[in-house]
């Protein structure tokens, strides 16, 4: 069982990202879950979303998890949210920031000694999509760090997930995924 926790602000697309990832992974014959804690969260409120992936049908409906990956798509949440909650020794962090990995760890000593990767999903989405929607770039970074899928395969699969959008939006998302894939450190 692979488990992923997203830290996001409501409106940044974590739920869409988690569902998009579930959609792509399901095409490979695996079983998936994508869910979130909503409550009565308003746009901008800190929230978490989750993915589970397994070779067998997923019966577990508890919300609690020890994540294999923690994806932080809002830079501020690294400072204000408990992103290391219920971590394992092997948990990998992919964090949106304009800082280098060293600068980030210095600013947030809780990340010291952990498997931390950084990528600037905010700048990437502003440059490519034109809005601060950091979800698809984060998926590009996840593909690189996890090796889950090759870039080409993932981009093609995401095209069908995004099929309802105009071509311009799809192209911008593809560029965002690629840039994050190549720039995550």
């Amino acid at each position: 069982m692979l488990e992923i926790r997203w830290h996001s602000r409501a409106g940044q697309g974590a739920v869409t990202g988690a569902k998009g990832l579930a959609d792509v992974v399901s095409k490979t014959g695996k079983f998936v879950q994508a869910f979130a804690f909503y409550g009565s969260a308003k746009r901008g409120a800190a929230m978490t979303a989750y993915n589970r992936v397994d070779d067998e049908e997923i019966l577990n409906h508890e919300k609690f998890m020890h994540p294999d990956y923690v994806l932080v798509i809002d830079p501020g949440l690294t400072y204000t949210a408990d992103i290391t909650a219920h971590e394992k020794d092997t948990t990998k962090y992919i964090i949106t920031t304009h800082l280098t990995k060293e600068e980030l760890i210095e600013a947030q000593p809780k990340l010291k000694g952990k498997d931390v990767h950084v990528v600037d999903c905010m700048q990437i989405s502003l440059d490519t999509i034109g809005r601060a929607i950091p979800n698809t770039p984060m998926l590009g970074a996840l593909m690189k760090v996890s090796g889950m899928f090759e870039l080409d395969y993932f981009q093609n699969a995401m095209k069908s997930v995004l099929a309802k959008f105009p071509q311009k939006v799809i192209d911008a998302n593809m560029a965002a995924i690629e840039r994050a894939y190549n720039s995550v450190k």
């Binding site: 569902k19 579930a22 959609d23 879950q33 869910f35 019966l59 409906h61 508890e62 919300k63």
Partner: protein, 406 residues
């Protein structure tokens, strides 16, 4: 003529999408609805299907859930296939009209996304609204995941609309834990689904002007009792066979076999959890884990909550030594509903296991693997002792000092 929708063999849908797709495929004549969290997306998706040409039926926007169910009653009495969706406070506001619908024997399908009842206000999942409906004269089916929410919604039409049954049907799913969790769902094609559901055959339709009928009459002490007794008798005698028949037909079509009472690892189980909703699947997973620790654990889950499957429950629990009934609703001054029903079912049985009650998960409080493990361990102790080793009713996952009664 509505457009057909191309669906993948495997979709990733949340429970709401699953329910709205099933409503679309059943070619419902009238949906009258007033959206409420967490079932809003059912109505929203349905409206979007309609706007995009995938639905021929009418969508009636109304001013409240009371009006939504009233609209459904009118449309069903007129002779149409009718469905709607609701949750929680909306369900509570519908309550008056729920009894009207079942009393008039109108086979409406209501997809209920279970949510807590205020106060305090809470949008998350528990079974308070489902339990509120249990004396309303409706058939109540319960889905434990998104696939089942889809399958049971399709089957609900065929069960309720049968001329020997003619009763409204609720299909329940857990708020957020199912309704907003995207999972693998294998849908039928539009043609296959509609072929399974079948054309609606109205009975005593008001719009059949050649044969005038009256709905919503007044009967006092002269006839009221006979009407209510007839309805109860049909619930007790005509529903189980029909449900089994539809479950069998569905299994033949899809390979997915449903049972009036679902059993997991019950062949040799000595202890069992009885539960509803997503908790059933979590408990199944934990039952398997417990066996590695030497505890012969199993799970029993009523797929049909009303009419209550008295005989099937008795049979499913005929060999166990200890049973935990898990209620996700505050009983507010009693033992939990599942506890009461299961205990009543087993009182006439040859087997008399130790039965205890757990209240859990109110307002969406997480039900974890560790909770289920703890319950199985307590059951194991009860089985070994042959008597309760814990208080009869305990609260699980509650903060603060342990709360228990009796």
């Amino acid at each position: 003529m509505a457009e057909k929708m191309e669906l993948n063999e495997m979709e990733v849908w949340d429970g709401n999408m699953a329910a709205s797709q099933a409503l679309r495929q059943a070619q419902v004549d009238v949906v009258a609805a007033y959206p409420i969290t967490p079932s809003t997306p059912i109505v929203q998706n349905y409206g979007s299907f309609l706007a995009n040409g995938y639905i021929d039926g009418e969508f009636v926007m109304v001013e409240s859930e009371h009006a939504a169910m009233s609209g459904c009653v009118g449309a069903a009495a007129a002779g149409g296939r009718v469905a709607t969706a609701t949750s929680s406070q909306g369900f509570a506001l519908m309550a008056e009209v729920l009894y009207q619908a079942s009393g008039m024997r109108l086979p409406i399908v209501l997809t209920v996304v279970n949510r807590a009842l205020a106060a305090p206000l809470n949008v998350n999942g528990d079974h308070s609204d489902m339990y509120l409906g249990r004396d309303s004269g409706w058939i109540q089916l319960d889905a434990f995941n998104s696939q089942q929410a889809y399958d049971l919604t399709l089957m609900a039409f065929r069960i309720g609309e049968d001329h020997n049954v003619r009763l409204p049907v609720m299909v329940h799913q857990d708020g957020f834990i199912t309704s907003h969790t995207a999972e693998n769902v294998r849908p039928l094609s539009d043609d296959e689904a509609y072929e399974f559901v079948g054309d609606y055959k109205p009975m005593n339709a008001m719009l059949d002007l050649a044969k005038p009928v009256t709905y919503g009459v007044q009967t006092e002490e002269d006839w009221h009792f006979e009407h209510k007794a007839r309805q109860h008798a049909d619930l007790m005698t005509k529903v189980f066979g029909k449900v089994e028949e539809v479950f069998d037909a569905f299994a033949e079509k899809t390979g997915r076999k449903y049972n009036i009472v679902e059993e997991y690892l019950m062949d040799d189980a000595e202890v069992a959890i009885v539960a509803l909703g997503t908790t059933v699947e979590t408990a199944e997973m934990v039952a398997k884990m417990m066996r590695e620790e030497g505890i012969k654990a199993g799970v029993v889950a009523p797929r049909l909550f009303r009419p209550w499957p008295y005989e099937q429950i008795k049979k499913a629990l005929s060999k166990v030594k200890a049973v935990a009934c898990l209620d996700r609703s505050s009983p507010n001054g009693a033992l939990g509903a599942l506890y009461n029903e299961v205990t009543a079912s087993l009182y006439q049985s040859d087997n008399h296991p130790v039965i205890t009650n757990y209240i859990y998960g109110l307002g969406g409080r997480d039900f974890t693997i560790d909770h289920a493990k703890e319950i199985f361990k307590e059951l194991d102790a009860n089985a070994k002792e042959g008597r309760p080793t814990t208080p009869l009713q305990q609260f699980v996952g509650l903060r603060g000092p342990k709360l228990s009664f009796y």
